[in-house]
Symmetry: C2
Subunit: 501 residues, 2 copies
């Protein structure tokens, strides 16, 4: 059947979609979500059909195409195209098998993951796959197959190094910008550390958001290779390289229902690590009331999953479990966090000691892990305190298009609010979830200067009217929202004496 | 945030969708598939967010709205609207619980089904619900709750009769237009029979498609009530009344993956029956190689599910298992089927005896079921042969806006092809799936005149060059496609002697 192209002027960024009028669809015996092959000359494209029930909005004889389909066909408004019904991809049959509880072999898993990465499956089909994996607890072989397929269908970086180090924190703790200190220490010690980080999803800043205060974090693969050769490491946003793209699409399906099984989390993280060529991964699992992992037993289970999966994927994994109950560092929000990091790297007394100590612990662990020797923690400390780590960090920043900045010249938001203690007492601690929300209400991470600076940590004594924290923002209304939230009283927890809660 | 409306000129017929530019979405911290509340003056609407990544196609400050959203807000291109992030509906939490394998109580199931019927859930959320039900085998209580919720969220018809009869065939057998003969027999016997039928999905004709040759099948509820009062029965397309709308949406999710568990099938059918107020349902289960139910054991299981579900829903169910291996009647396709039906109702010798006998069997069963007595089959025969059934049928046709027609004046397609036997032998039978496809290739059911007429049935002797069947179509190209298919040799199965296959 010949149809006239109507440019819908929309890009989905997902599966290719074509809209047919119901009369044409009936004539061709085509149903909602069927697939059609659209041909224009020698070019063709497979699209999923959406059917418009209304003649008023969408005329018979027209076919509405989204940006991606138009691009595939090099078609414009008014062009003639030819369509015919196309069979479903085979992967849909395999998805059904998985739903029925059958084990899938690697070829079938690859076929599904490949179709996901190429935007060939609809939300219904992908959701069925994701929920089937969720419900039918998969064995490790299947998970490793899934991870391998996600890696194979994306870009794999190879920097030609024997040891490639990586660090991943399971997340949920505000600030915790250890990565920006650990990477330069390890690089200064002479090891490759290609670090891809995420942007914030629900936190006040991801490492990529914070690093972006100083330099580019969206960097092409050829440029990455040059940086790696020159300085031995980088700190970029993972989304700028096409690593395991199927994983990103699976996460999009999981988000609306908050589906995240530990196994799927492990597969997702490992896919990204193997894709950058990592050989050694230090996994930090913060355990705490408001972090992702709330109990030690969960942490131990996750540790085992990562170890087993690592073995199958050929990547060594070492785990460190940390206290996730308290924020680490003083600043929360991109600029405030960068200041913390720079003070530590420059051995300025204003650098928060908890962040410094945790970074040294992790860096030491990595050095020990890759076989540097028993004095690895001491070595990390020497690299940091000698200024070598700062030098490495500046090499990375400059290679990524940034320049050296004085942390004192980095200014947080021009509007601010000091939160004072109502009475004498001790700080019992912060509610991490509320604290993150206050920083986000103030504008972080989009407003780099927005966030919260903490003067007190858990256990500190506070006097009446003493400053506990300051909220910063460049937007007065946003600051007010953040202040309203903190005044609700759930963020800062005080107690009367040193020992009682 | 204030945004300017852009009319997207598309109707989804499903969930309400609004498209935001990624810059606005970032600013508001809104993600793909989040929900927003859109306000224009006092009107508001909850929509699901789609994010456009391209500034080129979709400008910052604009919000693209689909037809349904525009209608809710009474908004047009260029209007200003206000948006804010909206929480997920509670039903999404319950869907997650079901996914985790928990049993849901009626209130939770109702909440999910109600949101489905009101188009409040995305494909991802609905698919998670459907696959969870599929995987975690639900008990009968839950299935009854699901069915009840589907009924409650749709229209329920009440004709004020003590006994309301219904008939349902599980399907898969070509022609099988017993309904159009059974309904008038039962109505002539004095019982209410409000029959809603489906249109064809993959078959050459549904009862609604065939009935449409003679009269309207899309009829409003007030008119249905009048018809019921006047003639005691009707034969309409179920889609014209809003019965259990959630069921239709669930079926749309099941289609792409061919999900149909017997339990879900039962829930779906029963929801429609209870919605028209049926008290007695005769369920026909054709068992055969190419029907939905292939083995007697499956039929027995289905029978039990319907019985149990019927008890919980307050509707009596009787089951009859029939031979589904052979097509019933001579014509396949709307007009050819109507001819068969009219010949039988008019006691014309050209009426196919298999269709007549099967109709009498079913009508007799129904009469016995509702307590007419042991001679119920004889009674059905008398009603048919006395012409009373024909009179009732014509009352129904006229009440639905049709008029009496002479079956000899109903002409099948103007192009035809006679399929002749290649040799002497016996007809072993037809492949139902291929036979249905031949009729569809010829244009059925959209082309009412298209289809296949069978001269021979299984066991009949055929001579070389004798006509086995004729294919009809109003479209020469379509006829050729059908002829090509039948020439492949899989539709008609011949054998050399009377007994061997």
């Amino acid at each position: 059947m010949k149809l006239k192209v109507k440019d819908l002027d929309i890009a989905t960024g997902g599966v290719r979609i074509a809209v047919l009028n119901y009369l044409d669809a009936e004539e061709l015996d085509i149903h909602h979500l069927d697939r059609i092959k659209i041909k224009k000359g020698k070019k063709f494209c497979i699209a999923v059909v959406d059917i418009s029930e209304s003649e008023k909005f969408f005329k018979k004889g027209n076919i509405g195409l989204m940006e991606e389909v138009l691009a595939d066909l090099k078609a414009v408004d008014g062009d003639d195209v030819e369509i015919r019904l196309e069979k479903k991809p085979k992967s849909v049959i395999y998805i059904k098998e998985k739903l029925e509880g059958k084990k899938l072999d690697y070829d079938k898993i690859y076929s599904i993951v490949n179709d996901i990465s190429l935007n060939r499956l609809t939300d219904i089909e992908m959701t069925t796959f994701v929920t089937s994996y969720y419900v039918h607890k998969s064995n490790m072989e299947e998970i490793a197959d899934l991870t391998n397929a996600m890696i194979k269908t994306g870009q794999k970086l190879d920097f030609g190094k024997k040891i490639v180090v990586d660090l991943h924190s399971v997340g949920g703790v505000p600030n915790n910008r250890t990565t920006m200190i650990v990477v330069p220490i390890i690089v200064a010690a002479g090891y490759a550390f290609p670090k891809t980080s995420s942007r914030s999803i629900t936190s006040p800043a991801g490492t990529a958001d914070t690093m972006e205060v100083l330099c580019d974090v969206k960097i092409s693969v050829p440029r990455l290779k040059k940086i790696m050769k020159k300085v031995g490491g980088f700190l970029i946003w993972g989304g700028s390289v096409n690593l395991a793209p199927a994983d990103d699409k699976i996460i999009q399906i999981e988000r609306p229902l908050n589906l995240d099984s530990p196994v799927q989390m492990a597969a997702s993280i490992m896919a990204k690590k193997v894709s950058v060529g990592s050989t050694h991964l230090l996994l930090e699992i913060p355990v705490g009331r408001e972090t992702k992992i709330k109990k030690m037993s969960q942490a131990m289970k996750l540790k085992k999953i990562f170890k087993t999966l690592g073995k199958r994927l050929g990547i060594k994994v070492r785990t460190v479990i940390t206290n996730g109950n308290e924020p680490v560092g003083n600043g929360i929000g991109p600029i405030l966090e960068v200041k913390d990091v720079l003070y530590i790297l420059k051995n300025d007394a204003r650098g928060p000691s908890d962040l410094k100590n945790k970074s040294l612990l992790l860096a030491g662990d990595i050095l020990e892990f890759i076989g540097v020797g028993k004095k690895s923690r001491q070595m990390a400390k020497e690299i940091l305190e000698s200024g070598l780590a700062y030098k490495s960090f500046m090499d990375i920043v400059k290679a990524q298009g940034g320049k050296e900045v004085d942390p004192d010249e980095l200014k947080p938001g021009k509007f601010s609010y000091d939160f004072l203690s109502e009475r004498d007492g001790y700080l019992s601690g912060y509610d991490n979830i509320h604290l993150a929300r206050v920083a986000r209400f103030a504008g972080a991470p989009r407003d780099k200067s927005a966030g919260v600076f903490l003067y007190k940590k858990a256990g500190n004594r506070v006097k009446k009217k003493e400053k506990i924290l300051t909220i910063y923002s460049n937007n007065k209304v946003k600051l007010e929202h953040a202040v309203d939230l903190i005044k609700e009283g759930k963020t800062v927890i005080l107690r009367s004496s040193r020992n009682k809660k």
